[in-house]
């Protein structure tokens, strides 16, 4: 807990004292000055001067861990130091404020303090878990809404963004194609058409009231993103450029329309960086590389309520220490769960953490059986080749060279909805017309060709730089002359934590939505539901940014309205959760000495260490994650039936048994990635069970879920959202039909 390295606060202080070569610990400075307010002033002044000699460096970092532990300086001192007590990488809001106007963000609300690490020490107005598009949008929405009210209320929030990655590493940065909005910059467009396309794309499973918000407010979000600095590609007259995308049509299913605003093919990178940059500007506080292990939710008092969120248990991976965070408002923005599958476009970190936290806290998930497979993952890697590759002229071909999509989706062809294209590809492969990945010519014929040779080379470089580079680098092919092997890759989880269109998490109970107080969610880990059974291209970034912003605004309103502190003095539920997790962590680490040692200090027993690498005997989370990925692919990837699902459930039992045996192989807690990976595997297994059971329960085919034993959509029984909890109880929530009665969905 006390192992922290404070950076900017200490450094600026040091500079201000005119002793740039001298370094003192906080405790010593405190002893010398004995003057907290002075401290604050100094820090402020210095951070307003970007030109002062900056002394931060590896050589000068200040480690205060020992001193805090040894001397117990007054908590208000630590408090002033930009929340340094919250750990290693917590950047002070104040310290990060580079010369912009603004008041210090400390509320003076003091935490419940005790030096016993088992006690809850930290308290925030809001804690946002995850720092991708949704998390950062939530933070910005919250700050901006409060800024608007601040003159009235005088409130300044204490907000922390906790993320298991440095924010710029978030997977939002890998989104390529575009973000949908009916700006109509290049041809006439109408948000009603976007509304319709999204609902049709969802196979009529989306809640229409939520989709209406999405489509109607999309242009505003794009403008806001542009103002935040996103380097959108431009039209000749300087407007945001837009391109065609699968499923985007004019006149309710008519001709394709240019609706996806883009930045070459790196829109996600641009959005992620712009949002992060604006967060720096507003002084948002980050705790990076902290992993949330538990969400603590009080059970509902009665049937009419949903309970309330208490707080979080987090693992500060840098310190290797657990701690409890008490939060008046918690937002889960942890992204998707592509790592359920072996072939996925998702990063290694998308392990469904937020969804599993909700399940483990006794909450439900909505529509988790719907997982979108992007049609064009690159061969064996699963790395995404953007839909833009087809929008710009790429064509899918089978082993006979036939452009088969015209057979499956006349009129739309290669730009039909993603689930349609993915299933068509699998149908071709199943019919024996697949091709082998050239990097593994003897391997299975489980790919088809993406033919981009008709795209002019210069145009390809200008409009698809990322796609071209990925093909060069990971397939060792030149797309201007070579055909590229592609196969469907797990891409997006349509379902997730059920939320209202204001971002509030709820329980579905006896036919009612019961709000869980103080708990919110946004982005891919949540389910509003605007994507229904299949997400329309360009709507994921939009969902994350738009509903993230709305969630932030909702919390701002909650904070502003709160007349007095919520009574959260009883921290025993959090303390219990912390103790439980601590025991778990201790067990993982103390088991390390029994496992095969890898570190030389422990490696005296060479006989044991040189045990040949028997892969089967090495039970570690990385191997287990690989086994789970293959199991899930056989069970439910792209298509499934009762037999495949039940087989998957059986296999899951074995994996769960193996997961219980997992122990770390190193006993050092600091930056022990294996410890995090073990908890990620637990999360994936929890979620996999929910996905399989929900798939089993839905005896129809709709959108991304294709059950070969129930190949038709069944609106009579299943025009409803699946609500499943960790006990595998399933209930059904009717779809909100507002404007558009369900129709057929042909592409």
């Amino acid at each position: 807990m006390n192992a922290l390295i404070l950076q900017q606060p200490t450094l600026t202080f040091r500079t201000a004292k005119g002793e740039s070569r001298c370094q003192r610990t906080i405790a010593e400075d405190h002893a010398m000055t004995g003057n907290h307010p002075g401290f604050r002033v100094v820090m402020k002044r210095i951070t307003y001067e970007p030109g002062v000699a900056r002394v931060t460096s590896q050589g000068c970092d200040l480690t205060v861990g020992g001193h805090l532990a040894a001397r117990d300086p007054p908590d208000d001192l630590i408090h002033m130091l930009g929340e340094g007590k919250f750990g290693h990488k917590t950047h002070s809001a104040r310290a990060s404020r580079h010369g912009l106007e603004g008041t210090p963000l400390s509320t003076g609300r003091d935490s419940i303090v005790g030096m016993n690490p088992q006690k809850v020490k930290n308290r925030y107005d809001a804690v946002i878990v995850g720092a991708g598009a949704a998390g950062l949008s939530t933070a910005l929405g919250l700050y901006r809404a409060l800024e608007g009210n601040r003159s009235k209320s005088g409130l300044s929030p204490k907000v922390l963004v906790v993320s298991k990655l440095q924010p710029l590493r978030s997977h939002t940065g890998s989104a390529e194609g575009g973000i949908a909005a009916s700006l109509g910059n290049q041809e006439k467009d109408d948000w009603h058409w976007h509304y319709y396309d999204t609902i049709k794309g969802s196979d009529w499973l989306a809640d229409q009231d939520a989709v209406r918000i999405l489509a109607e407010q999309a242009p505003g979000i794009i403008i806001e993103l542009e103002h935040d600095g996103v380097a959108f590609s431009r039209t000749e007259d300087g407007h945001i450029a837009q391109r065609k995308f699968g499923g985007h049509t004019a006149d309710y299913g008519g001709h394709p329309v240019r609706r996806a605003a883009y930045a070459a093919d790196r829109i996600g990178h641009q959005i992620l960086h712009a949002l992060w940059q604006q967060c720096l500007r507003l002084g948002v506080e980050f705790a990076e590389e902290w992993y949330v292990t538990d969400l603590v939710v009080d059970p509902p008092a009665d049937e009419e309520t949903g309970g309330q969120a208490r707080g979080l248990i987090v693992l500060d991976t840098h310190a290797g220490k657990l701690q409890a965070i008490q939060a008046d408002n918690i937002v889960l923005c942890t992204g998707g769960a592509g790592r359920l599958f072996h072939t996925t476009s998702n990063s290694w970190d998308l392990t469904g953490d937020g969804m599993a936290l909700a399940l483990q806290a006794g909450l439900q998930l909505e529509d988790v059986e719907f997982i979108q497979f992007h049609p064009t993952g690159l061969g064996h890697t699963g790395i995404l080749l953007s839909e833009a590759s087809r929008a710009e002229g790429g064509v899918l071909r089978n082993s006979q060279g036939r452009a088969f999509m015209q057979d499956y989706a006349p009129g739309h062809g290669d730009l039909a909805a993603r689930d349609v294209v993915s299933r068509s590809i699998m149908a071709e492969i199943d019919a024996g017309r697949g091709v082998a990945d050239p990097s593994d010519p003897d391997g299975p014929h489980d790919c088809v060709w993406l033919d981009m040779t008709s795209i002019d080379g210069q145009r390809m470089t200008a409009l698809l730089p990322q796609v071209t580079e990925t093909i060069h680098r990971y397939a060792h092919l030149d797309p201007t002359v070579d055909m590229v092997p592609v196969k469907p890759t797990a891409h997006y989880t349509m379902g997730g934590i059920p939320i209202t269109d204001r971002g509030r998490v709820y329980r579905w109970q006896n036919g009612h939505r019961r709000i869980i107080d103080r708990l919110f969610a946004a982005g891919e880990c949540s389910c509003v539901s605007v994507h229904g059974a299949n997400r329309l291209g360009g709507n994921s970034l939009l969902d994350a940014c738009l509903f993230g912003t709305r969630t932030g605004q909702t919390i701002a309103a909650v904070i502003s309205k709160a007349d007095e502190l919520n009574d959260m003095t009883d921290t025993s539920p959090l303390t219990q959760a912390l103790q439980k997790r601590q025991a778990f962590l201790d067990e993982l680490l103390t088991g390390a000495s029994e496992a095969k040692p890898s570190e030389p200090a422990l490696a005296d027993d060479q006989g044991e260490a040189s045990d040949p690498g028997d892969e089967a005997s090495l039970n570690n989370p990385y191997a287990l994650m690989g086994r789970l990925g293959r199991l899930m692919e056989e069970a439910v990837a792209v298509r499934c039936d009762q037999g495949s699902i039940e087989k998957g459930l059986l296999g899951l039992d074995q994996l769960e048994a193996d997961a219980k045996q997992l122990r770390a192989h190193s006993e050092t807690a600091v930056l022990n990635q294996e410890v995090t990976a073990i908890m990620e595997v637990d999360n994936l297994l929890t979620l996999a069970r929910a996905v399989l059971n929900a798939s089993l329960q839905r005896q129809e085919s709709r959108g991304a879920l294709y059950r070969s034993d129930y190949p038709r959509r069944d609106d009579e029984h299943y025009l409803a959202h699946t609500m499943i909890d960790a006990k595998e109880d399933v209930s059904w929530q009717p779809v909100h039909i507002v404007d558009m009665p369900p129709k057929g969905r042909s592409y």
Partner: protein, 379 residues
């Protein structure tokens, strides 16, 4: 497309690059001592010793070098290899990785003496580079004359006595022998020798028999990115870099909006249709578009001999972040930004060595951009 141009000629790569073969990965490892065992007992003045090389802030703990020999196709990436090691050999090896395709910027390390991303460097690249370009990183003018192939930008530590270690490719024949004594890199740091000698690593050789068939062994050596403090194994502390990026206000400041951002937010909340985008022509976009693709991976910082931890120079990544906004026609603070970087440890510290250009995974000619900044500041 970028420096990783092997992709294009990879299509004509001989078949052997597709076939798995034994490759040895020699990895610098470090396990920090738990804080609780030994509270930092600091001389408050010690760390600011101007003669202490930045990046030399040695956390206490065990350091050793470990070798892993696995079978893998040379056209796979180094990340593929390390993940295979995690899965099949040693789950305790720690290194950052996330997206796996060069977009997240989390996996910058030093591979065979060159700063590179684990997920974009193919094993074939590394092997050929280590043979044909033993000292590519010794930039003219700053090389210390001691061409140690594997010593990371050796010029960085001109003041430190470095002990040449047996790491040349020829020496690595021994890699085919199980339990060969691994090279002890800690020898380059006299202060750590005590622990290091104990730390003769054991070598994991899951396929010892298969390695013997190859007369010429293949070694890929991986160390933490220089200029950054190692925290554990290949994981380094990136805080300093991000602090330096933050220092130059890396966010769009358009006075139209910044003046009344709160009002704008409110009108936005009230109305679905806000005003409109800031206009920008494709030509204006082109002036900063490539700069905006920076993923803050830190490779340029690791390559820069002046940066060396940031004591004397904020570093190329911070300059690129500043340049991105200096060249954005929507930003209203070009002049202030130019003044902000015109500091002793800002652009003035750049010596135009241009070591920063080569490793950029986004293809930004960092050295040239730095030079443009120098010129812009002069105006």
């Amino acid at each position: 497309m970028t420096s990783q141009s092997t992709g294009s000629d990879g299509s004509k790569a001989p078949a052997p690059d597709r076939d798995p073969r034994p490759v040895t990965f020699r990895i610098a490892r470090f396990t920090p001592r738990p804080q609780s065992e030994r509270p930092a007992r600091t001389n408050p003045f010690a760390k600011s010793n101007p003669f202490a090389t930045a990046g030399n802030r040695r956390a206490r703990g065990r350091r050793w070098t470990q070798e892993y020999t696995i079978r893998i196709a040379p056209q796979r990436t180094v990340l593929d290899a390390l993940l295979q090691i995690k899965r099949e050999v040693d789950p305790t090896l720690n290194f950052r990785y996330s997206c796996g395709h060069g977009m997240c910027g989390s996996d910058a390390v030093l591979i065979n003496g060159r700063p590179d991303l684990l997920c974009t460097a193919t094993i074939a690249d590394c092997l050929s580079a280590s043979k044909t370009m033993p000292n590519v990183y010794a930039t003219p003018g700053v090389a210390n004359g001691n061409s140690q192939a594997q010593q990371p930008p050796a010029f960085r530590r001109t003041g430190t006595a470095t002990t040449a270690t047996a790491v040349s490719t020829s020496a690595s024949h021994s890699d085919s022998v199980p339990d060969s004594t691994a090279t002890n890199f800690s020898a380059t740091d006299p202060t750590e020798t005590g622990t290091a000698t104990k730390a003769t690593s054991h070598t994991d050789t899951p396929h010892p028999t298969e390695t013997s068939g190859y007369a010429e062994s293949s070694v890929v050596e991986i160390r933490p990115l220089p200029g950054f403090t190692p925290l554990r194994d290949l994981i380094v502390d990136t805080d300093a870099m991000f602090e330096q990026i933050r220092r130059f206000k890396p966010y769009l400041l358009n006075d139209d909006s910044s003046a009344d951002s709160s009002q704008a937010a409110q009108t936005k909340a009230a109305k679905a249709e806000p005003a409109s985008e800031y206009r920008q022509t494709p030509e204006e976009l082109a002036r900063y578009e490539l700069l905006s693709t920076c993923i803050a991976c830190g490779l340029c910082q690791g390559a820069c001999p002046i940066y060396a931890g940031g004591e004397a120079f904020a570093g190329p990544a911070a300059m690129i972040a500043a340049a991105r906004f200096i060249n954005d026609s929507r930003d209203s603070h070009r002049q202030e930004r130019l003044e902000a970087i015109d500091q002793v440890d800002g652009i003035q510290a750049c010596q135009s060595i241009r070591a920063c250009t080569r490793p950029c995974p986004r293809g930004i000619d960092v050295g040239e951009e730095m030079w443009k900044l120098v010129e812009a500041v002069k105006e």
